[in-house]
Subunit: 323 residues, 2 copies
């Protein structure tokens, strides 16, 4: 029988689940509309049913080895979702405990960025690495830190919040209620904020002067930069400079073998990779020179959430073997 893992990505609107084999092939996918279940008990009942149904659609016989769940504000130690602002369920949800009533195999819960790091280690570009970090450059900045082959959870279970390291004391307002956190500079949103500041600061022409702040996207800025818009190019350069500074500081702390860039902004390719590498080389401390690689994630964006969640299972099983 083929061993499979069930990967589940819980999002505010939709929950996606996939049946994944050891090689990272998604054998079947399905989804549940998160928003339609204001009571989490109802959600879990339907999720259970959907998993059962999806398993029966498979042509070959499989043996489920576990369920991995990526969810916002998830705590690995407690198996909970805690005060997630984007979910309909408020307070602390004992997700793992609730799922265990329906399933007999191991259930692992963690946040999205940690799941992404696991996906990179099990199926992606970090297969042979023990120390690496994934920067998820989306609306915010997520990070999954792997040290000695293990995701870093720390004492509280919430470690790995590089996006909320304060880079500019008293700087840009942050969603966390403080100011100057890294994600306000280094993310798709950060790029838009930098572009907007520069539109005020510079006098040059830019096609983006016709776009209001609410409509502005990182893709528009990438397109403008590629067609020669000097201000858009400067916005990318400044974002890369802040990203490089964050990476150099991360290297001083934990000295990873590689930093993987993932998410919307990472897809801007050379526009972001080339200046970031240039600034890393400029800023890095001599002792760390050439010890760290800057790499694009090897996991497809559209499959990352389910793959990352399923990777949690394989990792958990190999951990239990060693203990």
């Amino acid at each position: 029988m083929k061993e499979i893992a069930i990967g589940i990505d819980i999002g505010g609107t939709n929950t996606v689940l996939g049946i994944v084999d050891r090689e990272g092939n998604i054998l079947a996918e399905n989804d549940v509309r998160t928003k339609e279940f204001p009571d989490v008990n109802d959600f879990i009942e339907v999720l259970h049913k959907t998993i059962k149904e999806t398993l029966t659609t498979l042509k070959e016989q499989v043996e489920p080895m576990g369920i991995g769940i990526g969810a916002p504000n998830a705590n690995y130690y407690r198996g909970t979702i805690e005060h997630a602002p984007n979910l309909v369920w408020k307070g602390i949800i004992p997700l793992k405990e609730m799922m265990e009533k329906y399933f007999e195999f191991p259930i692992v819960v963690t946040n999205d960025a940690n799941a992404a790091a696991m996906g990179e280690m099990i199926y992606g570009g970090a297969k042979k690495m023990k120390n690496f970090i994934v920067y998820t450059l989306g609306t915010g900045l997520g990070s999954g830190i792997v040290i000695n082959g293990e995701v870093l959870y720390g004492y509280s279970g919430f470690a790995g919040e590089i996006g909320h390291i304060i880079m500019v004391p008293g700087g840009r307002d942050c969603g966390c209620g403080r100011k100057g956190c890294t994600e306000n500079y280094v993310s798709a949103t950060g790029l838009c904020r930098t572009m907007t500041e520069l539109l005020g600061e510079r006098m040059g022409k830019s096609e983006l002067r016709k776009i209001n702040f609410e409509d502005l996207t990182s893709k528009m800025i990438a397109k403008a930069a590629e067609s020669g818009d000097k201000i858009a190019q400067e916005a990318f350069d400044e974002t890369a400079r802040m990203l490089a500074l964050s990476i150099v500081n991360t290297v001083a702390f934990s000295s990873p073998e590689a930093i993987f860039l993932f998410g919307g902004l990472a897809q801007a390719g050379d526009l972001i990779f080339s200046p970031t590498q240039k600034y890393i080389d400029e800023f890095i401390q001599v002792v760390f020179k050439d010890t760290v690689k800057l790499l694009p994630s090897q996991i497809k964006e559209s499959k990352a959430a389910v793959l990352g969640a399923s990777a949690l299972v394989w990792n958990e099983l190999s951990r239990r073997k060693t203990i």
Copy 2:
């Protein structure tokens, strides 16, 4: 027979060695004048003799379990000292390999700050902790990071350089050739630099206006602050603010259970602890509130180097048992 570890602290001027039991009692001490041996081969020969002699002075029969060495610019993986600016031996010194010619038991090499963290874990205030960090506030800022019960070395072996995280881009000149690194604000030297800047900035009276920059010490500033010197008090407050910012960012990264302060500046007691705690409470992200303790090191300053080095041995032995 009593099991003992040999702890060695290699400094630029002097090398101290101690015979230490499992409880952290130093049974005997000795030293070798590092500076008098421009050839490292001669140094190791004399160090070997001195260890043998010191062991024979003991009244009880002992069984040496290993040698732990704390040294500047040491690399744990390679067992080397690499380009240490304060030592007479230049280039890369294969210390572990050279020592192994003389001794048959395990030899562990690491830098001073990592040894201090080990000392805290084996004999000090971190006995039951798996995730903690020691900040060594001396001339510079050293840091030893323990994650899941292991010192963090990272891919390169040089991880744990919180002192060289850039806090103020374009800020104060740093000995590493860059600008704005944490240790230029958060250390005994950092406090003196802050005091000196404030003497230029403020108009108020201060007895320290009579002291030139080269003679100024953190102890003088502590004494002045205690006797009501407003500028000296502000220098401590500003140093504490920067320390708290560094700690809060560290917590976002690795979420330790405790931060231990060690070294000269930590001995200023309430002058540094009380404002640092106040700023931590002010700056910390909600999710980490009350998850981290700020504590004074429980290792005596004068014994720390030898104890820390000897602790490497006990830790290495327990690691080998688990593997």
